[in-house]
Amino acid sequence: MDILITGVGGQGTILASKILAYAYVIEGRNARTGETIGMSQRGGCVVSHVRAGNAHSPYIPVGGADLLLSFELCEGARRIPYLKKDGFAIVNTASIIPVSTALGMADYDAEKITKYISENSNAIFIDADKLARECGSFRAVNTVLIGAACGLGVLGLSKDSIVQSIKKNIKAKYLDLNIKAFHSGMKTTGEMKEKCKVI
């Protein structure tokens, strides 16, 4: 199981990768992750790779991801080539406009980007920022998205293992909020799954 998590520096992608990787370990599997840490964190593109199973190297090959978990619209689109043909993308619709766009050096056309993702992958779009804020903080986007992946039933993980991993990796102070966010994400995709029978 290979999961690519993508977003912009500061959004919490690393914590999401930790939570998922540890959940696989709880279920008795080996897991590894690969992260972007350092200069690219300052508002740059960040990608975390989570690999459960017997892969040796930390990075998922292009065309190898079972799931793309995207914290930001354009970053999701940028990494579509990493998905397997039958892989799924869960994309947060929130956009973070880069300074290069504000300076007029590059276009950020949300409509076009959304269309590209839809045409090139099995994608589900959710407003994870909104769901996170409703649960108490925009910082809970990571647990909303993990919940969404769980609700879609594509992780090969039980809900209990994920909750156990969230409890281990998130500070007690923020735990209730994040458990709530996890359930909110799970409910959203669970309902979508019912409605459109995407899987």
């Binding site: 520096g9 350092g38 930390p58 880069p98 504000a102 980007i113 090139n120």
Partner: protein
Amino acid sequence: MTANEKINDITRRVNDLKEILLGNTAIALGAVVAGVRVAAGYPGTPSTEVLESVAKYNTDGKISVEWSTNEKAALEVAAGASWSGVRAIVTMKQVGLNVASDPLMSLGVIGTKGGMVIVVADDPGPISSQTEQDTRHFGKFANIPVLDPSSPEEAYEMTKYAFELSEKLHLPIILRPTTKVCHSSGTIEVDTEVYQYEPEGFVKEPKWVIFPPLSYRRHLEIEQQQKEISALFSRLPFNRIEGNGRIGIATGGAAYAIVRDIVESYELDVTILKSGAVFPPPDQLYSEFLQRVEKVLVLEELDPVIEEQLYHIMAVRKIEKPIRGKLNGFVSPAGELRFENTLKIIEKFIGRKLKNIENESGMVFPQRPPVLCAGCPHRASFYAVKKAMRGKKSVFCGDIGCYTLGNGKPLEMTDTCLCMGAGITVAQGIKKAEPDTNVFAFIGDSTFFASGMTGLANAVYNGTKINVIVLDNSTTAMTGHQPHPGIGRTMMNTSSPKIDIFSVAKSLGAEFVEKVNPFEFDLAVKTVREASEKKGVSVVIFEAPCAALVKPDNVCAVEDCTGCKKCIREIGCPALTVRDRKVEINRALCNGCGLCTNVCDRIIRL
């Protein structure tokens, strides 16, 4: 909780399951269970988390952990500890070893007593470094054994072994992880026992004083010892031959993991030579490998070290096998190895296609170069100097830290960057060559202590009029907010005397020294102008805490924006965004610093 109990706790926490550990944390825990007592280092990506994790797992306080002022200081502290019989670890990034190369070279001659491990993280790519240098060369240069882990799991095992090996050989050991090992995590079962020992203490002996006759004698011994280590390394499990194919792939470090993934995915019939204890080279094992295969592809990141070792052994043992690698242009000399480019090289080598990789989306997405954070005081400092010097012939020398990003649009306030501390001294060279130019040197607070002070002394001593701007945000921000000598707190959270940059600059003899908050914008501009007009060396210290460490108490807003976008063109803050041709302030990002209110009257602080 003692270190033992803590480690027990880590492994027990979830039904005796294994842990997911970052490579750097695995190295730290390897050192903790090996009984490390002194740990020192200087922050630098991708090495920083090693020392931070040693501090984190130093639960019984038995380990002395410190951020030293620079890598040279750290290595010397560790050497002294080792000479006193305790196990010591020192951590840095690859360019840090350049700074510490003076003690390293001599330590290779004098040797060690308590196990000493020098962790030096290399950065193929490079992803966040100045150079793509290869630390394995330093091993050869200094006659110090080098271990090169291929995964976090192996890094953990190698760290423990390195302490034993160091004590056996009386030499320091270089552990050389690369970014893909440091910043990836693996599933590791942490040992529950910490190695126990009673250090002998420092024993006065002539062997700790380096003199020419001693160096000569040691040189003879060390060269003999290299042969013994090579024989040992040929039997070490970190070095091994896997598979039975007639086609050979020699690899090591993170590249080994990629090669294994490809070989397993496509069931390739090859023989892999995995080099983990890479210097001195395991000659016997290399020669067995060469005998078994018809031709060899060498896949390694950075320099062709394994490749040159193979050529060497072929020459010595009169073996002739075709080798493809970096030396004959088969593999690119620069950049990271990833699954995709490694697969292409293997396809070319075996002469058949294994997979079609479609990495082209046909879409062009906006780039996201790293930028100074919203509310970053460096933006205000750069903008103040830019405004003060507008229309005057000026050169702005930069240095290493977040503020290297001052190079980007729209500030464009970093004209040079060479290495740690070089801004101040490069500025002096430019001033000597171009006396009519106003030359500025920007340097961060941590960098000032690491290697800025000698440069400032040089300017004063030699009477070179430069303008030094210290960007003092009270932390080492770029690497994740480590403390430094100017803060009054150590990494173990004890208080320490606060070394005051203002007093240091004064006592080093700078003619003009002034402290100012860059967000008091008009005063900041005026101070810079005044500094530039002085005859002697000037130092302006811009003091304001790193934006990532302070919570905003207000935010800014735009009222009736005309859409001229001057604010974005002037300061390029990431919180300034455009919607329907008008500038809006992203409240989730805005730090309320108010720098933009100095650019446009329509922006106000709420």
